[in-house]
């Protein structure tokens, strides 16, 4: 279980997180929604330790994430980045098997390649892409490779940062279905950041909406449409009019 209590983060004079409280139960899929600049990515990066929060606590199974063995902590995570973040200089299979080729999870090269090809197959890519470089693939294929890399070491927790950004609606649907299938199949805890409401409905067990640096609303996805919260209603229906100010 991941728990955030009173997490604060300020960049210069911009207070992005102003006391975020959030609980993600083990084996569930939490989707965080909210407008641009509301601190969704900052929240995710604080959990991973990529950004150090100014205040508050973040625990994983009761243990403070800032203490203990960092490698062992990170080995429990997989992450799909918004832009894929594939390493340009490495072949596709080497990207997927990155964690399996070095560090505490290292294994023989042939075995790592075999696992990479199996993970590529799991996300719908054939072995013929294994020896290509990321620049030779389309955006959708890169997203799939990034997903394969995120699941390569069978992590307990997977983070998805805007998994469908920049993809056409059909490819978005394919990625959403893949994420849902993989999360259920692996029994992993998942946390997804997205603006895409079709992703929310396809991926989420629970939804949390960030606004003003705090969690504005959280609950099961089945209750999202019925909530009277005007912020949630404006966001999920994409209305220009409402309590969330928009620039025109």
């Amino acid at each position: 279980m991941i728990e955030l209590r009173g997490v604060h983060k300020t960049f210069g004079s911009n207070a992005v997180l102003r006391g975020v409280d959030l609980t993600i139960a083990k084996g569930t899929s939490m989707v965080i929604i909210g407008g641009s600049g509301t601190g969704k990515s900052v929240t995710l990066k604080c959990i991973l330790g990529l950004i150090k929060p100014d205040g508050g606590t973040i625990t994983l199974d009761g243990q403070d994430v800032t203490r203990g063995d960092r490698d062992a902590f990170l080995a429990r995570f997989g992450m799909l980045f918004q832009g894929g973040a594939l390493f340009d200089s490495l072949r596709i299979w080497e990207n997927v098997a990155f964690r399996l080729l070095r560090g505490s999870l290292a294994r023989p090269k042939a075995e790592a390649r075999e696992i990479a090809i199996e993970k590529l197959r799991r996300v719908g890519l054939g072995p013929q892409v294994a020896d290509l470089f990321p620049a030779e693939l389309s955006g959708g294929m890169q997203k799939r490779v990034s997903l394969a890399r995120a699941i390569a070491a069978n992590p307990e927790i997977i983070f998805f940062d805007e998994p469908t950004t920049g993809l056409d609606p059909i490819m978005s649907g394919v990625i959403n279905d893949l994420i849902r299938e993989i999360v259920v199949e692996m029994g992993a805890t998942a946390m997804t950041i997205t603006h895409d409401m079709s992703s929310v409905r396809a991926i989420a067990d629970h939804v949390a909406m960030l606004h003003g640096g705090k969690v504005r609303w959280t609950g099961p996805v089945s209750e999202m449409d019925a909530t009277p919260d005007p912020y949630v209603q404006q966001f999920i229906h994409g209305r220009a009019e409402g309590p969330i100010e928009s620039l025109r």
């Binding site: 960092r70 490698d71 070095r102």
Partner: protein
């Protein structure tokens, strides 16, 4: 107050410079401390060695060839004023080995390598590849900076040695073809006057310059700002700071070795 504002500006500039120097020193200490601690990345090291050493050979060789030739012409023209044309082989050899070989070699590597390292790492930062490395339990400093810094520290002395040889050959070519020196006498003069310390000191300078070049490329790349403009600024800063540091280190090492 208006009169004080330039002083305040100067103060801010000096403070900024000092804090940058402190950050670079801490970064350098971190890189050096990680050189001897596992895990090691031999594949990344060999790749960097090829990129920095092997692929810099043509540009360093061409620079040395023309510099050696021009040096021979200049020394001949200057030596003529007091009938000392015969010193051309010795001065070309000593000048190339002690100063021009390492400094020009270092500058060419700075232009070619510091820029490419800063642009590559800066782009990796902008596209979240550095964050991805961290989430894959890999220390970016260890994976990206250490192999490049070690490779440059080892490769640049070799480039300097090759550059020295080609530069001396450039002087010999001009001496024999344009200035009517006897080929055997030119070579004998070069060998007689050149001492082992002339060569060794140049190679040590090369190692120091290689370290600085790769360090600046990695430091500015890792601290790159956002977007294309941020990467462009990091690349420019890497080349400028590496070049300035090469000149400063050259003076300090010359004081240390020869004063």
């Amino acid at each position: 107050m208006i009169l004080l504002s330039p002083v305040a500006g100067l103060g801010r500039m000096v403070l900024g410079l000092l804090s940058n120097l402190g950050r670079v020193a801490i970064y350098a200490a971190q890189v050096v401390s990680h050189i001897f601690r596992p895990p090691f990345y031999p594949r990344e090291f060999l790749h960097a060695l090829m990129q920095i050493g092997w692929f810099s050979l043509p540009v360093v060789g061409m620079t040395a060839l023309f510099t050696g030739g021009a040096l021979a012409l200049q020394i001949y023209a200057g030596g003529q004023r007091f009938s000392a044309e015969a010193v051309v082989p010795a001065i070309v050899a000593i000048g190339m080995a002690r100063e021009l070989g390492p400094v020009l070699g270092g500058l060419m590597v700075a232009a070619r390598v510091a820029s490419s390292i800063a642009a590559e790492i800066g782009t990796m930062k902008v596209t979240e590849q550095i964050d991805a490395l961290v989430t894959l339990s890999t220390n970016p400093l260890k994976y990206l900076a250490v192999p490049r810094v070690v490779a440059a520290t080892l490769a640049v002395p070799v480039l300097v040695a090759v550059g020295d040889s080609i530069g001396i050959m450039g002087g010999w070519l001009v001496g024999v073809q344009r200035l009517d020196f006897n080929s055997a006498a030119y070579i004998k003069n070069t060998v007689d006057f050149l001492e082992m310390w002339d060569i060794t000191s140049g190679l040590l300078k090369g190692a120091a310059f290689g370290f600085l070049v790769a360090l600046m490329g990695c430091y500015h790349g890792m601290n790159s700002g956002r977007g294309a403009q941020g990467v462009g600024r990091a690349t420019k800063s890497a080349v400028v700071s590496a070049s300035v540091l090469i000149f400063a280190a050259n003076y300090l090492l010359t004081e240390l070795f020869f004063s």
